[in-house]
Amino acid sequence: DQQVKQNSPSLSVQEGRISILNCDYTNSMFDYFLWYKKYPAEGPTFLISISSIKDKNEDGRFTVFLNKSAKHLSLHIVPSQPGDSAVYFCAAINMEYGNKLVFGAGTILRVKS
């Protein structure tokens, strides 16, 4: 079951530059998408979300873009900071079937100072 895919297992970015994390999905019934960040020995922490009726949502340094026709979303972090180094999970919900999150495999982001 690969409904949510994060094809890049890791990404390395220089401090101050943009980080772009990508996510693809196959289930067109997903209507809400979320990004979670996870540090070692901690649980996932909510970062930002987007409804399927929008194509962009911005919160400070974090922006999520949704391209429904391509079934693709991305998370942009500008400027990247060393504290952003973590595992980033893309997740999706089909609200008709409740609050169950379907997660991608995660992308390890390393921000180098």
Partner: protein, 114 residues
């Protein structure tokens, strides 16, 4: 900020033994969840719980698994007879259940089955 707490942080058990993983969800939350992450794999949904009953479960959540809310604060996951493949990080999560609301996750219990 209120948080979901999980105990223990690490649990080591012998294959075939029963384990109980404990969680205290955020106090005003109504929906409770268990997820797990096997090392190197994605975070997987196990079960959701609302109004003292299971609202949804995955195919992973077979007869060996059960959940319970024994009192007004705790939410537990029991594995009756653990298998080697149950070794994973188990995350508890909760929310109020409002549409599109984010989940709040605990820091997880690392279960190692020997």
């Amino acid at each position: 900020e209120p948080e979901v707490t999980q105990t223990p942080s690490h649990q080591v058990t012998q294959m075939g033994q029963e384990v109980i993983l404990r969680c205290v969800p955020i106090s005003n939350h109504l929906y409770f969840y268990w997820y797990r992450q096997i090392l190197g794999q994605k975070v997987e949904f196990l079960v959701s719980f609302y109004n003292n009953e299971i609202s949804e479960k995955s195919e992973i959540f077979d007869d060996q698994f059960s959940v319970e809310r024994p009192d007004g604060s705790n939410f537990t996951l029991k594995i009756r007879s653990t298998k080697l493949e149950d070794s994973a990080m188990y995350f508890c999560a909760s929310n109020t259940g409002t549409a599109n609301e984010k989940l709040f996750f605990g820091s997880g219990t690392q279960l190692s089955v020997l």
